[in-house]
């Protein structure tokens, strides 16, 4: 289905090397705004979301992971071995026709493959490269291994969060920095597209999730620099003494504030709520499956989930053909196992 010409990113082509949420859901937001997104994974390097809860290991599990499908619905899928020079040549052909590259690989991986940012910028001066990483491209902690919740600790959020004695991290069911970075990264790519419209130049965007976590506590950093202590307020709000979280008498909790109160919903209550069903946080793919929603509405250009999830490598041939590769070259890549529709090791870890 061709992208809707009326949408803001109609005609923009994105190559998505994003994994899990931070990279992949940033690309999804660009897709929802009308871009064409080609997700590239390798037969030996699938997005880890494919090997997640809820996919029966005795099946083609890589096409059945709910978390993967939820996040990546509507993207074209190419399964190409980027660890092999021939695979990387194909990626370069793809990038030649692309406007945006999004990646959240471990720092140094692309450079190791000869696809370092400086090389890519030289080859493709109009390309916008968005690198989403834990710590950023440089600095003494560049190679520090972190998940989202690690960054809550190192970014200042955990120290100020928690209703009890200990600082609290959100854990693997939220990994807050991985979620919130998508809202910012998609905006940064849009800003870079506007800048390219203005100057003709592409850009490299170095997005540190740890910095974003700290930025979202900016007032606390300014206060700390001025010598104001940073106490952990728990569930209280110094601006509204009536704010608190109290037991609801039925085994649950209730949030109260000046002039109002609300139940502390669990997932079941959220999923059953009318305000959730009529909102945009979770939408449906055309095949009826729940899909990652869109965090805003445009009144003149309705946004929607336009396509269901494609199978791994389902678009190999069409995408490679569009880069100008001949049929026999494509067949050669398939025969060599560099272009695939399943993982090289079909057994799950």
């Amino acid at each position: 289905m061709p992208p809707d010409a009326a949408l803001p990113l109609a005609g923009i082509r994105v190559v998505d090397l994003g994994w899990l949420t931070a990279g992949a859901a940033s690309s999804t937001l660009l897709l929802d705004l009308g871009a064409e997104v080609v997700k590239v994974e390798g037969p030996g390097a699938l997005d880890p979301f494919r090997n997640w809860d809820g996919a029966d290991p005795d099946t083609d599990w890589w096409n059945r992971s709910p978390a993967y499908g939820f996040t990546n619905r509507g993207k074209q899928s190419v399964c190409l071995d980027l660890k092999h020079p021939r695979g990387r040549e194909v990626l370069l052909r793809l990038l030649a026709g692309a406007d945006v590259l999004i990646e959240n690989y471990r720092r140094g991986v692309l450079a190791q493959w000869g696809l370092g940012v400086e090389d890519l910028r030289r080859r493709f001066p109009r390309l916008i490269i968005a690198s989403v990483s834990s710590q950023g491209e440089d600095g003494p902690d560049r190679d520090m291994v972190s998940f989202g919740s690690t960054l809550e600790a190192t970014g200042g959020l955990a120290a100020l969060t928690g209703a009890g004695e200990a600082p609290v991290i959100t854990g693997r069911d939220v990994n807050y920095p991985d979620q919130v970075v998508c809202l910012f990264a998609a905006g940064a790519v849009l800003a870079a597209l506007l800048e390219r419209d203005r100057t003709g130049e592409g850009a490299h965007l170095d997005l540190s999730q740890r910095e974003l976590t700290s930025f979202l506590l900016g007032e606390e950093l300014i206060a700390a620099a001025a010598g104001t202590p940073s106490p952990r307020h728990g569930n209280a709000d110094p601006a509204d003494p009536a704010e608190r979280v109290v037991p609801d008498g039925a085994g649950g909790w209730r949030a109260e504030w000046s002039g109002g109160s609300a139940p502390v919903r669990d997932g079941m209550a959220l999923a059953a709520a009318e305000d959730f069903a009529s909102g945009t946080a979770v939408l449906r793919s055309p095949d009826g499956r729940p899909a990652k929603g869109i965090p805003f509405r445009l009144s003149r250009r309705p946004l929607s989930v336009r396509e269901a999830c494609h199978g791994l490598g389902a678009d190999n041939r069409a995408v490679l053909r569009a880069t100008g590769l001949a049929e026999e070259e494509i067949a050669g890549l398939e025969e060599a196992g560099l272009l695939a529709t399943g993982p090289r090791k079909p057994r799950r870890d």
Partner: protein, 327 residues
């Protein structure tokens, strides 16, 4: 100079929003526009800047919240041509009717705007209920995460509308954004039939006390052998600790075995030992520690007064600091 919004004028109606979450979200969206090079005008009501009395307050007077959110903006009237405006429905109708692109902040969506707080939004979206220690109360995320996330979404929507051209209303629901962030809980119910709950056995990440504070104990199953070796306690070889489910089932015993190793060491020692084994453990750092953090210093992230730059390096450099300042 990088300035994607150079020449664009943005009207920040945050000070006229009827509710606090809306006002904070609008102020954040406008602040991002300022950082991207727009000229942002923030008119004030007769009572003055509502953020000026909001905590955290500064020892020398004034508000850190005001200083953070209004960096790079200037005060001024709503007269003149604007390209974009940000506010709630009332403020936009009253003061930005002729502005072609408007971001409209609401609780649940256009026209569905009951009285609400950020705490209430965390509660309704499930993001309050999922966070907190096992067996403990729900824990709200510190600061203004609900409003700021909505501000990030509003800015992204505005940039999209600007690129598309013409008129547009970008509707940002504070509730939708918060529930969108909390998708694993919602999707758990809808696609797997069960939602993760606070302190569930699978969610075995939490903070641990160290000799000088806390660290975040974050690891995957594949990291367990390396973590066990790092802790070096023979008791951890027991089969009941070999899996995440087993460690959850025997959680009090597990914690009693591992806690002394952590409390005997500093955050830096623990982090160095873990990182050498590629285990994603890190120190819990307070805001005052972030000011002199070597990573932040090396990347030029914070100004001397603690004001963070836009968390984005563009071709290896920060976007130039803003010229104006309404704070």
């Amino acid at each position: 100079m990088v300035a994607p919004l150079a020449g664009k004028r943005v009207l920040d109606l945050g000070a006229f929003c009827a509710q606090r979450p809306h006002g904070l979200a609008a102020a954040m969206a406008a602040r991002l526009c300022a950082a991207y090079g727009a000229e942002v005008v923030r008119p004030l009501p007769a009572g003055g800047e509502p953020l000026a009395t909001q905590p955290p307050l500064l020892p020398g007077g004034g508000s850190a919240l005001d200083r953070f959110l209004n960096a790079g903006k200037r005060r001024g009237p709503t007269s003149g041509r604007f390209d974009m405006a940000i506010g709630d429905s009332g403020a936009l109708e009253a003061q930005a009717d002729a502005v072609p692109i408007r971001a409209r902040i609401s609780v649940f969506g256009p026209g569905d705007d009951p009285p609400m707080s950020e705490l209430g939004l965390l509660a309704l979206s499930g993001l309050l209920g999922i966070v907190g220690e096992a067996g403990g109360p729900p824990a709200r995320l510190a600061g203004h995460q609900v409003a700021y996330a909505a501000g990030l979404a509003a800015c992204t929507g505005l940039l999209a509308a600007l690129r598309a051209g013409g008129e547009e209303v970008v509707d940002v629901s504070l509730f939708d954004v918060t529930a969108w962030l909390n998708w694993k809980v919602a999707a758990g119910v809808l696609v797997l039939g069960a939602a993760p709950t606070r302190g569930n056995a699978r969610n075995n990440w939490h903070t641990m006390p160290a000799s000088d504070g806390h660290v975040a104990l974050v690891f995957q199953d594949k990291d367990w052998p390396a973590l066990r070796n790092m802790l070096g306690d023979e008791r951890l070889q027991a089969p009941r600790f070999a899996t995440a489910a087993g460690r959850a089932e025997h959680r009090p015993e597990f914690l009693s075995v591992i806690t002394p190793w952590f409390t005997a060491r500093s955050r830096a020692e623990i982090t160095a030992a873990a990182q050498a084994r590629r285990i994603p453990i890190g120190p819990v750092l307070a805001p005052v520690e972030l000011l002199r953090d070597p990573q932040n210093q090396a990347r030029g992230f914070l100004a001397p007064d603690g004001t963070p730059g836009l968390p984005l390096s563009w071709n290896g450099a920060r976007i130039q600091p803003e010229a104006a300042d309404a704070a």
